[in-house]
Amino acid sequence: MKQAPFVAAHRDEWQAFERYLDAPGGAQPPFPPEDMPRRYRRLCHHLALAADRQYSPDLIDRLNLLALRGHHALYANRRRQSQRLVDFLLVAFPALVRAEWRVVATAALLFFGPLLALIATLQAYPEFVHYLLHPSQIASFHDMYDPGNRRLGMREADTHLAMFGFYIWNNVRIGFQTFAGGLLVGLGTVWFLASNGVMIGAVAGYLTQIGFGTTFWSFVSGHSALELLAIVLSGAAGLRLGLAVIAPGNRSRKAALVAAARPAVRLMYGAALMFAAAAFVEAFWSPLTEVPFQVKVWVGIAGWAVLLAYFAFSGRAGAAR
């Protein structure tokens, strides 16, 4: 068949398909939506024929464009998002953390190792803090956690909302950087995990040693579980990427990276939600001095217990389904 009869035979069909793509939800679609896949397959068939018979480039171009648009329309994502969020939080996310327990444990070690070691060290050798923190940093921590403060962890002029914005902007960014650093063969992630562990350990150890322990632990206990575990999970996601680059196994580095990015970014969804929740607690609950110290510490411990139980048990039944 020559080009002109071919075009004459199918032109109406192509135009109907184009009209359908222009207004898929329109009032008067040229054909019912359930006809779309069949129509699309026919168009693909026409494109293949036109290319094989070397019809004019312009005709092939137009058919290619039409097929491309049909491909987009047919393979677009139409799943409901809200149900997936609940599923993700109750089942998929904790199951994913358990499945990735090796990188999670490694990240936890890299982060909590220096943190706990420094808290212990500084109790015995308080002057060691000067290797880690600048005097101006030490002075500002003095300001923030002075037992005479009306509000903890912030300067007098700050408001809760201002601190919330700051924590989101700063902490989530640190989490994202910890994750992205994994692409640098994991080194960026290791650096962010260890250096944050060192910083937090130094501040916690130092303030406890000089007698600001009550104010400091009263401030951090509430959000500590969410925030510290979110950093660990960001690090775990980053290590997952780094591992794919270092040891891709029996596929190409590119394929290994794409495969590793899928679970890694799902870990990041959860980590980002945890950072946001932590920022909320940190801005609106942690600074309160009206609440007694014991209550705040117990709330903090309860937070750790709930979160660890969540990661250990949530979604086990769902995952087995």
Partner: protein
């Protein structure tokens, strides 16, 4: 574009990517190099700055709380808005839409939340050591112009499909060529005839005089008319 495919088959152009679909055809995607992408990024950056400045102008009346709102806005426009636009706007941020490019999956399907967030979060590494240094090096190191974020997410940036007005073959009495033409030759003749409306008459005549065995001794307007006649024959008009 089909000329481009032809050229690519001969190894002259390598800025296209062919994607096989489940329907057994190959679609052609046209890859975007660093310059249009930098342009799109610059437009997005300006828009982001405008949004943040706008928020700051309102937020200043709320004192320190306004500062918190501004930081929230900065976080959202920097990390979340690009992915949000890419998923809801067929792979385009406002800057990409202005430049006419879009993000799609490696297989040409519209980008979804996971890959879009992956590539946007990993921008932090592409940006290193300054102004997308790693991203640019990576783009030059693979044939799809992917930056690191694209590699991990399995996405490519392509020119958004654009509709050009259909070209028509001028009507003329069909004239059989003096000898059978190969498929390649038929295609060249058809393409020239379809382009004739966009050429000046002088240029068309000049081009039409080139295939001497086809048009014989005809010159000028006669050569053009003869070639268009042959094109009509090739297209199957009688």
């Amino acid at each position: 574009m089909a000329q481009v495919d032809e050229a690519r088959a001969r190894g002259m152009l390598d800025t296209t990517r062919r994607v096989a679909t489940p329907e057994g055809i190959e679609l052609t995607l046209h890859l975007v190099g660093p310059v249009p992408r930098a342009l799109a990024w610059a437009i997005d950056l300006a828009l982001r700055a405008a949004v943040v400045i706008g928020v700051l102008m309102v937020a200043q009346y709320f004192g320190r709380a306004g500062w918190g709102i501004a930081l929230l806005a900065m976080f959202i426009v920097e990390w979340l808005a690009p992915a949000w636009f890419e998923v809801l706007w067929n792979g385009q941020t406002p800057g990409k839409r202005a430049v006419g490019i879009a993000v799609v999956h490696d297989d040409g399907t519209p980008v979804r939340w996971g890959p879009s967030l992956t590539r946007n979060l990993l921008r932090a590494v592409d940006f290193l050591p300054f102004l997308y240094g790693f991203g640019l090096l990576t783009m030059f190191a693979n044939r799809d112009f992917k930056r690191l974020g694209d590699l991990a997410a399995g996405t490519v940036v392509v020119y958004a499909p654009r509709r050009s007005p259909a070209r028509t073959l001028p009507e003329a009495p069909a004239q059989p060529p003096p000898f059978p033409l190969t498929l390649d030759e038929q295609r060249v003749v058809l393409d020239l005839a379809e382009r004739s409306a966009s050429l000046t008459p002088e240029r068309l005549e000049e081009l039409a005089e080139l295939p001497a065995p086809l048009i014989g001794r005809a010159t000028g307007a006669a050569a053009a008319a003869r070639l268009i006649g042959i094109a009509n024959y090739v297209a199957g008009r009688r």
